[in-house]
């Protein structure tokens, strides 16, 4: 393992984050505050508690997941797409590094950034609602795993994308709808039976459900299934990235 290289990639990517620290910090704080004002206070005050949890608190795990997933994809896809766009990818391809080292460096940095944002949102949420985290270690595990797996997906999107439009296409058209329809703002049990069945095909449901269980001890699907789903998703992304570097798809002529 070329640790020097992993560290170099990680630090270089994190430097990009620190250069825009104010935006990185303010943007999630502002958007989360808006969500709480609209969904938590304005609408939430007229809604019943969900499974004994006040609605304002109920949406916190979903809000964190929404930001963490979209930020992970955005950070990781941009992280690898930008060197392709400006041509500096040549250095990566000619360096004594293997695919795992590249992935650990880029995905590690992207996941760190989104983890930071997730924790900032959690802190902001505390300003608006009373939150009790039943299983803090499990919560952190789910959060880290989600950051990692969606950063891996973002990395794949960054390699696949041929232009900036494509870079935003998958997050806009696929990921955001899946996250919104994955129970971020509601419990699956609130849906009609037929939609409850349909929604089970949405992989994001398992992540949000597991994350919510870590907060409130209640979930739409069992915790084991949630963990299995996120592990499977992570492995599938890793396998795909391994194939990308083996074949040079979209990166090596």
């Amino acid at each position: 393992m070329n640790f020097q290289a992993v560290s170099a990639i990680y630090k270089f990517e994190m430097a990009r984050f620190f250069r825009t620290l104010k935006q990185s910090f303010l943007s999630p704080v502002l958007s989360t505050s808006l969500y709480f004002v609209v969904f938590g206070t304005a609408i939430g005050s007229r809604m019943e508690a969900v499974g004994g949890v006040e609605y304002g608190a109920f949406i916190v795990p979903g809000l964190i997941m929404l930001s963490v997933m979209t930020q992970s994809i955005a950070n990781a896809s941009f992280g690898i797409y930008f060197p392709k766009f400006i041509g500096t990818i040549y250095e990566l391809l000619s360096a004594p590094v293997n695919f795992l080292e590249i992935v650990v460096g880029y995905v590690g940095a992207a996941a760190t950034k989104s983890l930071f944002i997730g924790l900032v949102i959690l802190g902001t949420a505390h300003l608006f609602v009373d939150l009790n985290i039943d299983h803090p270690i499990a919560m952190m595990c789910f959060l880290v795993l989600t950051c990692l797996s969606f950063s891996l997906l973002g990395f794949i999107i960054g390699i696949w994308a041929g232009n900036f439009e494509q870079l935003n296409l998958v997050p806009m058209l696929v990921v955001t709808p899946l996250v919104f329809l994955g129970g971020s703002f509601y419990s699956i049990s609130m849906l009609p039976p037929i939609w409850q069945t349909v929604t089970m095909f949405n992989p994001v449901v398992y992540l949000i459900s597991g994350f919510r269980w870590a907060f409130f001890g209640q979930a739409d699907v069992s915790i084991g299934v949630s963990l299995g789903a996120i592990s499977l998703f992570t492995l599938a992304c890793m396998a795909f990235i391994w194939w990308i570097f083996k074949t040079g798809w979209r990166i090596r002529s």
Binding site: Q4, A5, I9, F12, G87, T88, Y90, L93
Partner: protein, 309 residues
């Protein structure tokens, strides 16, 4: 000198079917500067890209210091530095951070003193904390070289390092390359500037349409440049070169109307006066006399055109 880079029968066929390299054979000696000379699209960058690992090889074998570029890619790549043709740099990062990144990426531990030395050599030290985006084009090109040297490579590939730079910077680059050679770095340079190859290369390889047309010592080529020819047109065509003119190694044209004499302009005696006297003594009358000088450019153009047929 030992062979440090060996390219054996390397072919590169792109997905669309275009054959960019057609069975290239090339051996690069340790410590030399070799110039890959060729027109645009000749395959210079493709050849460099395959050696550096940016582009895959369709068939053939490439070794660096005896190690295969595929199976021993880590050791091979640690030895190689690459300066690309395009200015490809992270615009928002500082010069020193860009260079530090390159050193780390190639697995080397921190060595600020060495990096400062590299920046000084390239007249970049004053700009080490400047953002890349604020530098001029010439300075950015120097940053590319600094990045390529950051991990102390033994072999340096320079892909068109002076394309689009002014004369002064070009001379600076040549001095830098010569200095690196003195320090023991093997340098492979692609260029389509013949004067550049003449100025700094030890050997010259001419490449066109994916084929190496010539690999020769620069001095030998220069000697060839020094050759001059005199074409003597005769009033009456001769059937053969008269025996008393045998020492001049004259070449008689197919129709017998002209004789060609080749001589070395650098030699003390060209033999021209003697030849003209002896021609008269042999009874040959001259209608006209023309001189021709071959240059490296003539050789290059001739080879490229020949290869294109």
């Amino acid at each position: 000198m030992s062979v440090i880079v060996s390219v054996q029968d390397v072919r590169k066929i792109y997905a669309g079917g275009f054959e960019a390299l057609k069975g290239i054979h090339l051996e690069i000696q340790e410590g030399e500067i070799i110039a890959l000379l060729g027109p645009n699209g000749a395959g210079k960058t493709t050849l460099i890209s395959t050696i550096c690992g940016i582009s895959s090889v369709t068939s053939g074998k490439i070794t660096v210091d005896g190690m295969d570029i595929g199976t021993d890619y880590r050791k091979v790549r640690e030895m190689i530095g690459l300066v690309p043709q395009e200015i490809s740099l992270e615009p928002f990062e500082t010069v020193i951070n860009s260079v530090r990144f390159s050193r780390g990426l190639f697995g080397k531990k921190k060595n600020e003193a060495y990096l400062d030395e590299v920046l000084k050599t390239l007249s970049l030290f004053d700009k080490k904390n400047s953002k890349v985006m604020t530098l001029s084009g010439g300075m950015k090109r120097r940053v590319l070289i600094a990045k390529a040297l950051a991990h102390e490579p033994r072999v340096l590939f320079l892909d068109e390092p002076t394309a689009g730079v002014d004369v002064e910077l070009r001379r600076d680059m040549w001095n830098t390359v010569t200095k690196l050679k003195r320090e023991g770095v093997t340098i492979i340079l692609t260029t389509h500037y013949i004067e550049e190859a003449e100025a700094i290369a030890d050997r010259i390889a001419v490449i066109n349409s994916g084929e190496i047309l010539l690999v020769e010592d620069k001095d030998a080529l220069m000697a060839r440049m020094g050759k001059k020819k005199i074409r003597i047109e005769l009033v009456t065509p001769a059937e053969a070169v008269p025996s008393q003119l045998a020492d001049y190694s004259l070449v008689l044209s197919a129709d017998g109307s002209a004789l060609t004499y080749t001589y070395d302009t650098n030699s003390e005696r060209t033999g021209i006066t003697g030849l003209l006297n002896d021609l008269q003594a042999a009874g040959l009358q001259m209608r006209d006399v023309q001189t021709q000088q071959s240059s490296l450019e003539d050789i290059f153009v001739g080879l490229v055109q020949e290869g294109a047929k």
